[in-house]
Amino acid sequence: MIQPPQRTYSLCLLVILAALLTACSSAPYRYEPLERFDVVQRAVTQEQGGFVVRASVPGEQEAEDLFGIPLYKRKIQPIWLEITNVGDDRARVVLSSIDREYFSPLEVAYMHKSNFSKQGWMDMEDRLHADALPRHIGPGQSVSGFVFTHASKGTKAFNLDIYRIGKEAAESYEQFTFFIEVPGFVPDHRDVNFRQLYSADEIRDVDKDGLRAVLAEVPCCTSSQDGAAHGRPVQVFFVAEGQDLLRALLRAGWNETSYERDKDYLAGADYFFGRPPDAIFRKGRDRSTERAELALWLAPVRADGQPLWVGQFKNAIGRTFAIGELFLGVTLDPDTNDGRNYILQDMWYAQAMRHWAWSETGHAVPKDAPQQDIHGNPWFSADAYRVVIWISGEPVAMADVTPVNWDRPGALREVKE
């Protein structure tokens, strides 16, 4: 019979652990040079306004070998950049445009100092300091180095701003946006062959008015795998090229996921168009609890030549001890309109939205008569609207977003007396 662990055992364990830690701390600092990896070879290049920028993101194992420290385990992700200043002005790179709370090189070294002897720590400091991306670039110069950012899952999306010193306001800076694939992570949507989801004659081509009619027919809700149970409502439609939608979501801080579509996943998933989501994205209030989930399905519809996507937003509330990789067993916000309103604003602030519209479904689900989803969780939708969002490939200033005046909801929540 298994005995519960006793106090002496845990004490022993502590002693061993302490001994191990002391033993580790005499280790010298070792790392592999950048040339051993294809980090530079696979860099993505962008050229703009007299700057040539190459960017690459080492994967978890590469980063550990490159720096001799398990950076990803401490939620640190290095980005390699090479910036060439072709112009005649001095230039300054804004590191915090890449990550507002980037880690400084000596901070990264301090976080890992217990792995090494004192000399090892100093060697690590020298290496990280020397390999950091410089901020200042003279005319005609080229600089390269690493910036230490917070790790994110999946495709790494980041901005980079470079200023010209002494230039007039209008031409003072260049803004870059990068989306870089990171080795060691395959997002779920990569497993879906979007071209073969529908045959040519299945796809309906419609204009804006036609779209309005089509959307009114789209079923309210997802269903369970066997179709027996009704799920939660789909509250959002996107009109977007897949790549633009992906970039919009990444820019808005959503993370890709890599669910394995195994038996358990399929049994618990929400189904639409007879299949589980084509892609699931997640987002959280802080880095350790990702509580919002957006599931997407490609629809057999093209609106003015652009694909239509159906979206379902879920927000976990209350206690989420066992959140794991799946949203099973977690209590969801029953008010599905809050999530819909959030997505609308989210795309607005991500400057990813060209137009939006409200699409009436005709049937509200009042909160005192809620429905149940496939896992028995209640939901309601006090108004009878879904939101339609036209995504832009280029950033759209918030003031330039225009509504499409289809259906005009009231206050989107009962107006109080």
């Binding site: 400084s104 607005w348 969780n377 206050a411 929540r413």
Partner: protein
């Protein structure tokens, strides 16, 4: 912030931690509490702004007031209700965007279900009260709506935007609302009487640069005997401009040291959690401790930036000139003298340049430049601060002319005063 509680706590409840509790408790008999904003009815602290046919009123209930209003200790859960009334005097509907107030605001039912046991199969609480208290998004013409937005907690001063969109309209209202409950250090500074009438001196640019390059390189201890961190910042602006600029850039104010703040500091030290307003130790310039301190918390108390400012007797274009010091805490370490202290990033120029980016992106700067005065300290021959941490620098002070009105980065002026050599002739 969730983390493995056991894994984090076990090693930390060590003797030095307990000893530091005693030390902090000893501090508790220190300075008297400073001025406080009275608590009571948050509606007595409403601020109003008007523009473009819109009238927005806003108020922020304190911790106690929020608990009375909602029957839950919202502040303890990191949630702060913000009360808004939006009056639409335009001809068309407008939409209020709470994401502009807080990108990750809490939904009313999320707040209602706090601490309710809703795990497993039990149903979430559909709480009509919370739904009623929240504010709607769309406001029809000539109507007004009011209610609460549930946002992430900011004690001290709550800074937020109220964004409203409509046809040909995008209007932002920025509010800075002091919230009762903290003893903020700068509430108690009598700015007008820091210097007597005949001590103030107005200087032109050239004399100003000469004057501030002569200021001491570094902070000192109370007796002025030992020198510490380099004074690598010069700020230009009225106290209110500085306050607004830093709050806009997401810096937190700092509580004066008293019994309550010492206890909160200790709690966050043990748990590794946030106490964003914890008092900072006194460093000395002009024979007195800092006039204002700000801090910017990152993931936990051990990782934050600290900034201290002292108002000088000099004015430039009628605005006070300040000298200051910034450091980035990169961890905590044990010392013989103070038991624990924050380890600072030895590369203080890195931290200085971070501040420039941070304030510029918060649209808080009117102009920027450099002056000398610290003296170069090479990396391989670092100097030490008062707790023995090494630091090195190119020797320049960053000049930040702050602006209380948002200023786009493209309008940022460069003061052609001095230029760090490494920036003029960077080595690739």
């Amino acid at each position: 912030m969730r983390r493995s509680v056991l894994a984090m706590r076990l090693p930390r409840l060590s003797f030095p931690v307990l000893a530091s509790l005693l030390l902090l408790a000893a501090c508790a008999a220190g300075p008297e509490p400073v001025n406080q904003i009275p608590e009571g009815d948050y509606r007595e602290r409403i601020q109003v702004q008007e523009a473009a046919g819109l009238r927005v009123s806003a108020a922020v209930p304190s911790a106690r007031e929020s608990e009375e209003l909602f029957g839950k200790p919202l502040y303890k859960k990191g949630i702060q209700p913000v009360w808004l009334k939006i009056e639409n005097n335009r001809q068309k509907s407008i939409t209020f965007l709470p994401v502009g107030l807080d990108p990750q605001y809490y939904s009313p039912l999320e707040v209602a279900n706090l601490d309710e046991d809703v795990s497993g199969t039990s149903r979430p609480l559909v709480n009509q009260f919370f739904i009623d208290q929240s504010i709607s998004l769309v406001i029809p013409p000539n109507e007004e709506l009011s209610g609460f937005v549930f946002s992430k907690l900011d004690e001290g001063t709550k800074a937020f935007n109220v964004d409203v969109v409509g046809e040909d309209l995008f209007q932002t209202f920025t509010f800075f609302i002091p919230v009762p409950g903290l003893n903020i250090d700068h509430y108690s500074v009598d700015w007008r009487n820091l210097y007597s009438e005949d001590q103030w001196v107005e200087l032109g640019a050239e004399r100003l640069v000469e004057e501030i390059e002569q200021y001491a390189c570094c902070v000192t201890d109370k007796n002025g005997e030992n020198t510490g961190d380099p004074l690598n910042l010069i700020l230009i602006g009225m106290p209110i401009d500085i306050y607004t600029a830093f709050i806009r850039a997401d810096w937190d104010e700092t509580e004066a040291i008293n019994r309550g703040s010492a206890w909160k500091t200790f709690k966050s030290f043990v748990s590794g959690g946030e106490y964003r307003y914890s008092p900072v130790s006194s460093l000395y310039v002009f024979g007195r401790p800092q006039d204002i301190a700000f801090q910017k918390a990152r993931e936990n108390i051990h990782e934050r930036n600290h900034l201290r400012l002292w108002m000088s007797r000099v004015t430039y274009q009628g605005l006070p000139v300040w000298i200051g010091q910034i450091s980035r805490d990169i961890g905590v370490r044990f010392t013989a003298k103070t038991i624990t202290t924050h380890k600072i990033d030895p590369d203080v120029d890195e931290t200085r340049e971070f501040l420039l980016e941070n304030l510029a992106y918060a649209q808080s700067l009117k102009a920027v430049g450099y002056v000398g005065g610290v003296g170069a300290v090479p990396k391989d021959q670092p100097r030490g601060n008062l707790t023995g941490d090494p630091w090195f620098t190119d020797g320049y002070r960053l000049v930040l002319w702050v602006s209380s009105r948002p200023t786009p980065i493209s309008d940022l002026e460069f003061l052609q005063w001095r230029q760090p050599r490494d920036q003029e002739h960077p080595t690739p």
